[in-house]
Symmetry: C2
Subunit: 314 residues, 2 copies
């Protein structure tokens, strides 16, 4: 079975795909990891497909397989290592939540660091905040930025912005040289399979804490409550040793596996309640900022977790 | 292309499936409908697959194609006319929200009517409320009840309960003979393609209003904000002429198309605020009732809608 087959792209779980491509049914090796611990298969036994109108780009970068196709009903779609990262139709929900939960939880974010986020969607949202003086972005894979500029213009519109400092390199290494510098840090990574694996371990989060200012807030892609609860519980548990305030939010993103996405939001200041916006928005402001998913009520509601998630994280 | 193929079941949009099975690329006829109006294809250009361990049952009833299979990672799965209705792994999220939003919004629900719900999941949740004196259930397709009893024991456990009055027949016809009788009515229907089409029109909702007592509350399966926003806006708009209080809630359900599900909640009493539970639950009560998704905070948060949905429904 192929990922591209008879006019459809199918996103299988990495472990299922390995079984299909390999000769044996042995234990899969491509599983989600954190701190070297295996957190189970990614989403075995299920798959999501999008109908392909035209393949626009398909190459292997130094780090991963990069595919962009035009779909019949979701606009252009960015796929890394067989996993959908963004579609033009629903990307706003993920970008707005991952970016604005920490940004609006902060009273006055001036210096922002984005790790990953090569498609530019998080950058676009961060630049909506007038308080921002400089956005630093550290993306490991330049090819992702290049294809976003070419095929995802609505997402990559911020790459020419004068407030942007762009570095192509490893986020983990970058952080070692930056201490007490940022008001908000956003980790917009792919899953912990491949180049992003180091972004799901305790030592990475210790570097993030040190790179934040005293009132700094962190936001990280936090996987799906339906699929990755052990991994999420592990992330929350070790971060409670690193940050005085650790919270988890979730919202709907149609084309991610299981249709939901979580956000790990941590604050360095114990008195900062990130579940309530420090700055609320009027209807006029929402319109002016072209917010399609986020509003001040959505901010608070995102931290209300289904009972089974609450149980797992307590 | 088949729905069952090489060990996987794939849920295509009904219109895509018709195209694949037919010889032509003509306009599909299987689209979501309300009041005879076509509301667009169901979810063209996307598909969701589950890996099949074993097909347990596959027959055509008088009304629809009924399939039950054991999946590799989602337990047993009920499929009607090619659409996943419930999997043992995530069914609780849908059942608890569709049932408990109206049930806990009501201060003292004694008489409850379920229309559809042949798998028994809604019945199981309704029976958790001690105030309930009688549950009437009207399911059109007896075969659904029979396969649920056999293959979905965790969902169908309420069918032998002494408080249950079970009718096998058409919900629309049933309502014509019941006026001012129920505290809560729950419509647990499949999509408006096939036997459930009549349950998405204005005349159905007028019958529901008349069957409710003066302080009665209605809950209906309300489709997905990602896929069916025109249909949802239409349902909300015509119900505003029928009920003094019309609200919409949504939550995550992993195996429904796009991973989200909406709930249309209407009250006959203008002063009833259904977005706030009339009865709140303690942690002990949540445990005793075996609630895995619903709690009193989840109730309120479900009515907070993403901005694009808010815009569409205002």
């Amino acid at each position: 079975m192929n990922k591209l087959h008879k006019g459809w792209f199918t996103e299988f779980s990495p472990d299922d795909l390995e079984k299909m491509n390999g000769a044996s049914d042995e234990e899969p090796t491509k599983v989600l990891k954190s701190d070297g611990q295996e957190m189970g298969g990614a989403w075995p036994g299920q798959a999501f497909s999008l109908q392909v109108k035209k393949v626009l780009f398909h190459e292997k970068s130094k780090y991963q397989d990069v595919l962009v196709f035009e779909s019949t009903t979701y606009g252009n779609v960015l796929v890394l290592d067989g996993i959908v990262q963004a579609t033009e139709r629903d990307e706003f929900s993920y970008q707005e939540m991952l970016a604005h939960l920490p940004m609006f939880a902060h009273p006055d974010p001036k210096r922002v660091l984005i790790i990953g986020g090569g498609d530019g969607g998080i950058l676009r949202e961060v630049l909506k905040h007038e308080s921002v003086e400089k956005v630093t972005m550290c993306e490991i894979d330049e090819m992702v930025i290049d294809v976003a500029k070419k095929f995802l213009p609505g997402m990559s519109c911020g790459f020419s912005h004068p407030k942007l400092d762009l570095f192509c390199g490893d986020g983990f290494e970058f952080l070692k040289n930056h201490k007490n510098e940022f008001d908000v840090i956003i980790t917009d990574s792919s899953d912990p399979v491949g180049p992003a694996e180091s972004l799901f371990g305790q030592s990475y989060y210790e570097l993030l804490r040190d790179a934040l200012k005293e009132d700094g807030i962190l936001s990280s892609q936090g996987e799906s409550v339906w699929l990755h609860l052990p991994l999420i519980a592990h992330l929350v548990a070790f971060n409670r040793k690193i940050f005085p305030a650790v919270t988890y939010a979730q919202s709907i993103v149609s084309t991610y596996p299981s249709g939901s996405m979580g956000y790990l939001i941590c604050a360095k200041n114990a008195n900062r309640d990130v579940t309530t916006p420090a700055r609320t928005l009027t209807a006029e402001q929402i319109k002016a900022l072209n917010l399609r998913f986020y509003n001040s009520e959505v901010h608070k509601a995102a931290f209300v977790l289904p009972q089974f998630v609450k149980n797992a994280l307590e």
